[in-house]
């Protein structure tokens, strides 16, 4: 009984690390640009497909390293293009509703293009460890999942270091906290918007590859990470990066425990139940909103 519980917590932390990674990108984009990107999970889908194709072409470790790098870079560039082509032209004119509709439109376009080009067949990513597992005594897991959580946590730590130390990283935070003051410091906020959107999308892309090590990959898969990322982002406080990191893990563990002890069918609903409860009691999320 104890080991089942522990096992579920560990499984939850692994899935949660991927939720965190994807949600951090979403919350960053919201914090800096005030855009709720409903196509965020589709950037994860694109990242996952980049890995599918690279691994079909170059199997083994080379393919894996290549997939991760290509997903990060490829989806980052896609983010840059979408920011310049779709969001930036609207940014001075739109209302909140306009940008929400634009991102919902983007979600449909990306899903349909994926169906057209990638086909509807679900795909799996090959396991570079050939199914090897590690036994920690009270719980065990696959090597692949150890790699997954290590990658997610590693990237989140690197991002934190970048945002807190690097000149451009601090400028991203400054812009999120006070857009006008940032401009008065000589920060080119269009550059910051592009950088933030590219970075946030790249994180979603990489998260998509890691997501694909746990779940199946198919053209309409993006909706689930989008919804999960929104739950995590709102739980953590919109625009609050640390809040999103912790909430991702909380959601992963809650889903895993709920699936084991309550009902597997309602696993996906658990996040929303928690969300509604938290919003009823603490409207600004578990960790407070980012500065307006």
């Amino acid at each position: 009984m104890e080991s089942l519980f522990l096992q579920q917590v560990v499984n939850g932390l692994i899935v949660g690390s991927v939720y965190s990674l994807i949600a951090v990108g979403l919350t960053m984009i919201f914090g800096v640009m005030r855009i709720s990107n409903f196509a965020h999970g589709d950037f994860s889908m694109v990242g996952a497909y980049i890995a599918v194709f690279i691994l079909a072409w170059v199997p083994g470790w080379f393919g894996w390293v290549g997939s991760l790098v290509a997903a990060l870079a490829g989806v980052g560039i896609l983010g840059l293009v979408v920011e310049r082509g779709l969001f930036r032209p609207l940014i001075t004119r739109w209302t909140d509703l306009d940008q929400i509709m634009a991102s919902v439109g983007l979600f449909f376009v990306m899903e349909n293009l994926a169906q057209l080009f990638f086909g509807a067949t679900p795909r799996m990513l090959p396991d570079p460890f050939q199914g090897a597992t590690v036994d920690f005594g009270l719980f065990s897991t696959s090597m692949m999942r150890v790699l997954c959580i290590s990658m997610a946590v590693g990237i989140i730590i690197l991002l934190q270091i970048y945002l807190n130390r690097a000149r451009m990283g601090v400028a991203i935070q400054a812009t999120a906290q006070n857009r006008n003051a940032a401009q008065l410091m000589g920060i080119n906020i269009n550059l910051i918007y592009g950088l933030t959107f590219a970075l946030g999308s790249a994180l979603a892309g990489l998260g998509g590859v890691l997501y694909g090590t746990i779940f199946a990959i198919y053209p309409t898969m993006g909706a689930i990470p989008t919804l999960k990322a929104f739950v995590v982002t709102i739980l953590g406080g919109m625009g609050n990066i640390r809040g999103a990191i912790f909430s991702g893990f909380i959601l992963g563990v809650a889903e895993s425990l709920g699936g084991a002890y309550v009902s597997m069918e309602y696993k996906n609903a658990i996040g929303f139940v928690i969300l509604i409860l938290v919003l009823l009691i603490i409207p600004h999320g578990l960790f407070g909103r980012s500065e307006e």
């Binding site: 400028a171 006008n180 920060i187």
Partner: protein, 235 residues
């Protein structure tokens, strides 16, 4: 140095500035006086490039800056210190100052300026690792001024530096502004509500009402003007 000619600005259909003309020469301290809603902040925001004028021009050192993006204007040395509550609340004092120096590449000069502002404001040195949002109003105002000095200003625009501060703290801020003007030889455009001090310290002053410049003269002469005395000095 700075020349504003016939500037009009509107928020949507609501006009905020009606053909404002003014100038600041190198080495001057010019005060802009006016009540709330007179258009002082709008003028500063437009000079900084945060608002786009609907008419008229702004030139700095004979280069047209109206229509330029704000980061280019800052790079030219036209720097605005906004009110103290416009600091970056979750960033440390030190990171706020770093952001002030965002456009500068000369690390040594930035380090020298960093030392200068820590001498000028010892309180900031004590609190360099503290989040700016946890500081008092006076400290935040000091930080906003210090941050703008790190941008390497040629023309420094101060937006109501004494707003909402206790009298003792206000004195400190006044002294610092004078020190910056005299020791650093920075040209200053000062927007202030404390008319007595602002007119006393200024080489020249403008009075702004309802989006227009209604008077301009030497600071001391305006201080003797009957309308100014009644409206701004409370005689």
């Amino acid at each position: 140095m700075l020349r504003v000619e016939n500037l009009t600005v509107a928020y949507g259909k609501a006009k905020a500035l009606y053909g404002v003309s003014m100038d600041v020469e190198e080495g001057e301290l010019v005060t802009l006086l006016g009540s709330n809603g007179a258009g002082k902040s709008t003028l500063l925001k437009t000079i900084s490039g945060l608002l786009k004028p609907t008419g008229g021009t702004i030139t700095f050192k004979d280069r047209k800056i109206s229509g330029m993006p704000s980061h280019k204007i800052v790079q030219m040395g036209v720097v605005q210190a906004p009110e103290g509550r416009e600091v970056f609340p979750s960033l440390s004092v030190h990171d706020n100052l770093r952001m002030g120096a965002f456009t500068r590449r000369d690390d040594k000069a930035v380090d020298r300026d960093m030392e200068f502002v820590f001498e000028l404001f010892p309180r900031l040195a004590e609190r360099r690792n503290q989040a700016a949002g946890t500081m008092s109003g006076g400290e935040a105002q000091m930080l906003a001024i210090a941050r703008s000095l790190l941008s390497g200003p040629k023309l420094l625009m101060l937006d109501e530096p004494s707003l909402g501060l206790a009298p003792v703290v206000r004195e400190d801020i006044f002294n610092v502004v004078q020190q910056i003007y005299q020791e650093r030889r920075v040209t200053i455009l000062l927007v202030e509500q404390n008319a007595k001090w602002a007119l006393g310290v200024a080489s020249r002053a403008y009075i702004m009402e309802n989006g227009r410049i209604v008077m301009q003269d030497q600071g001391s002469k305006l201080a003797e003007n009957e309308h100014v005395q009644r409206a701004y000095l409370g005689y």
